[in-house]
Symmetry: D2
């Protein structure tokens, strides 16, 4: 049994890690850290866990964590992770960070998109980008995982096969993403109120969202050339899920069937990526509540352009689920352990 | 491993049985019967199951079922069950019926509320009402279970402790219930359309809903006297869950704390019933997606009246989950097997 | 043209007053007061008003209001009204207050339910309870209107005909009310977040909600005896609307048709109350976005109990609409002026 | 007073025409045609109209319509319009058709996208495309208006200024549109059910949606060259509204401020188009329930690409509202008459 601690456990990503860990056959939840709820049972904050996980929330105590845990998930606000993680990391802990702080190969890219220098570049240098399907082998040999963003996971998985095959014009890429409201976290701020979100849709951070830089890093690696793309996030009145509609001009002519074949080949053997047959497309309902990603492709022959639709649950494959998948990899467990349950559809 | 068949598998209750059975450690799904989707994979109808359950839907063939299954769940429309079940039952199968057809101790009550004579009164006589917390011992010795209705389960669990303690005026009982739309099933009819249900609430079948009779049957048994109550169902714009607000005039004076104590005592040892402490009340979010029921009580001292709020997931504890709980009982498994996962909260 | 000021204009009730006033043929919006948005255009806070009302928000200045307005709507938090209104009232302004501060005939009842003495009992004594259908004549002669609460309006209208006819047992009354989330206001607090409200239902302030006292005041007046009732508010995942399901034991035997006749007689000539024919019941969708109340009655002959279902839009008939209706009355306008638009259904 | 008839009045677009006409100062609703509800009052089908419009639904009778109406709105399923309209048109009626049947300048384009020859090409030749902001002068002189599609209106308004200015690469255009469920109409089919739509998002008819051809027709006219674009519709769990996110590669370098200036100039004097200042973007909530379109632009300097976000209410500016705007034009009324009410925001 691996002993697990969760920092930032009462946020929406943190509590999803807790939910997955308590039903994981090889993990034991030892510490639940939440500054706002110290002394309260996690099941008082999230009563769905009553009788299932009644662990008390504690304040952060690095020594205590180091003594009682083997793996730590950090689901802290962006910026907080990079001040806490170095001390956890030097204690020898395995750390899976859900923030944006340890996702970059180049600290300068971080600085450019986050507006401040990275305070722990040496630790950053020892991290690996935890998109399991692309970096499985490197993840296995690391102790600090920068768990990918939700939008990022969805968009990279959508475009990777075409980009890796050099089948598309690298200057033409667009990812138009639609996210549920859990993606905005549990902050009690006006734009997150029910009556502000419900019966509406909005685009936000157009041309400036930080996840753009992650997607560009990964697609550039796959392409072997510098890729920049348009990424537009939208907020949708639902709880869970991201659907990313991606556009790419083809430089190699192909049909929808060809494209589907390419995707099936690329994701062959990947348990958590479902490539749809030509003529069918995924919906958020097909993956919500699960760690599965679902991808469908249409080639528009009129325009010689591929349209790729991909869906994930932002809290699972886009956060906590992929984090557990990373834990499984670095701990040598079966990669899908604790992650195979079906979404609920309803 | 018990071999399982599901009839009516592509309705909302049926597919929830399928979802639970495929992750049950002691059950194997052998037959998925759906007249409307014969020849299609269940995962084509519900793509959340892709790679998890790709079984092909078949037409009903009683002999085939009898040969290949030990337990059959029937999630058929009311009325259909009572024509199919007798032949399954006489083949020696264990049958758990999710319709209203086998829930009555008295065929006359069925006739009164369903508007036609029961066509198989002899089989009805061999059935037991499957509300596990109240009839566990009888269930164990039966082979045909009338799995309780969703509204019924929620309302009976709410009122049982007060009624059994003879603490309330039997003429004063009211259950005002609010249900998600999955309760209406998957029929493509106007009132179930998104734009007709969303941003609205309605009461329906006021004073005439069939579940009234089930609640009355069970509460009368507990009270040892004839109980009639007002039951009012409402449709709420959400998918899963029922919250039942119940009112009862107290004949024994008590405080909220007394009442909570009574409920905790009554449900002592019941894994799937959570009684809330005085001052706290359950919300649907606390149980949705799980087999747990949650109950809170307030005594209004001004009026000498108890207000009981109870919540379940209508598809789980109110249908498929309780059906699996019944399977566990009649098959001699640990009663909570396959049913312990937490609700998702988000 | 009557000159209008709105205090607390950027809350959900306040902005609804603004929306109604800008299309009112006899009113001119002169002042929009919002402490949080001083100097911003109201249409920057609520862009639906762009080009329709671009008035700048100001801080509260009683002299300025007195000079430029004839009627003031105060949509302030409970408690704030009673400190501001006395000075407005003594300037000779007509004041329509949407808070709970001026709804009581007896300052002691206020104290009992609001937990503090009323700071302006002399001004309170000059106010009238603004439920138009019940107090039209008194409203006409007053300058300070305590505009009724949303739950209150819905529940009183539901029970008034039966109570006034002395047809029901005064001890048996129960109002079980379901409200949309706009009723909780625009406060950026955790329980109002989209992800906390969506796909859930909860009861709150069971046996203690302040609106209970308003309902009791009005029903007692109608009955000529002291009435106490159970009132249970619930929060529903939708924006607008309240549906109140009311229960009353009949002391005069009657059928549903009798009851409907009683209601139609009681509300004869009332433009904004729609009594439904026997066999039909209102839904929130029938009134949302409008000033109409809709009421349906069922008599449960088995139990000799009436079940009354009433619906209003909490922001319109339950707040801003009724406030404008009151303005029409005290200003001598046609009572329905500016209030006749149909709800949107979709 | 112009005398109005509505065909297909009980569909979602038809009833929205009815709602707008009953409060229009210069129009009188004379005939409400609905094959499915002949003999019922429209207010029984849509009880929000009770007391406001209780007109009885009739079957189609062209002579009766011709005798009693001056203007007819046809909100019939695609295909039905072109069989009915010729006879109405030859009677001398003014006809505003909300289907796709009379939107094309070239019957061959219709045939290509609708899969069958146009049965009334001579009548089609006498129609005009009713996008008011682009074709106001032509509309004035016609008697048959092909009222634009909802997606179409939203996307054309978004791209028109850039295309007309020849500022963008005509081969690079993409419109990614998100629509509420009213856009799917009132058909009782499985994909429109609450539980199938709620908590999900899907793309559909990717690269094949018929509205593509309308957008291409209009943008080609503006550009003076043949334009083809990617158009991707998505279904969102809300009732009303379309948000279209459009992408275009710039051939003339410009900043966001330049682009906003271009848009403000293009739409100068247009009452129903709101161009947003640089740094702000519209949300569906800003226009839902109203006839206003709202447009915001961002230039992504990194990529030299414009991202345009436009919003309308699909039932109003995208259907019934624009139809009434067309009626106002062809009848010589003030163009905004009956259409100036603010959206409700909440």
């Amino acid at each position: 049994m691996v002993r697990v601690g969760v920092l930032g456990a009462t946020g929406y990503a943190g509590i999803e890690v807790v939910r997955l860990i308590v039903s994981h056959p090889h993990a034991e939840l030892k510490r639940v850290v939440s500054q706002s709820f110290v002394g309260q049972k996690i099941s008082d904050v999230y009563p769905n866990l009553r009788g299932i996980c009644d662990t008390e929330c504690t304040a952060l105590d690095v020594d205590d964590i180091a003594k009682n845990c083997d793996v730590v998930f950090t689901a802290l606000p962006h910026g907080a992770s990079k001040t806490v993680i170095p001390s956890l990391f030097e204690k020898g802990l395995k750390v899976i960070d859900l923030s944006g702080d340890f996702r970059y190969n180049d600290a300068k890219v971080y600085e450019e998109w986050y507006g401040e220098p990275h305070s722990a570049p040496n630790v950053l240098a020892q991290s690996v980008y935890g998109l399991c399907e692309l970096h499985r082998d490197e993840i296995r040999t690391h102790r600090l995982i920068g768990n990918p963003g939700c939008y990022t996971t969805c968009s990279i998985l959508a475009l990777a096969p075409l980009v890796a095959a050099k089948a598309v014009d690298a200057k033409s890429l667009i990812a138009d993403a639609k996210s549920g409201v859990t993606g905005a976290g549990r902050s009690a701020v006006l734009p997150n109120l029910y009556c502000e979100v419900n019966e509406s849709v909005k685009a936000y951070k157009v041309a400036t969202h930080r996840h753009t830089s992650e997607i560009e890093q990964e697609l550039s690696l796959l392409a072997g050339e510098d890729i920049k793309l348009s990424f537009t996030p939208h907020l949708i009145p639902m709880q869970r899920g991201i659907l990313s509609t991606c556009y790419a001009n083809l430089v190699k002519p192909m049909t929808t069937e060809d494209a589907v074949r390419l995707y099936k080949e690329f994701y062959k053997g990947e348990e958590f990526v479902r490539v749809y047959d030509a003529g069918t497309l995924p919906e958020i309902k097909h993956v919500a509540g699960s760690n599965y990603a679902a991808i469908g492709v249409v080639v528009d022959l009129r325009l010689n352009r591929a349209v790729v639709v991909s869906c994930i649950d932002n809290l699972v494959k886009g956060a906590a689920g992929q984090a557990v998948q990373n834990m499984n990899i670095i701990c040598g467990f079966d990669e899908g352990e604790g992650l195979r349950q079906a979404g609920m559809y309803l």
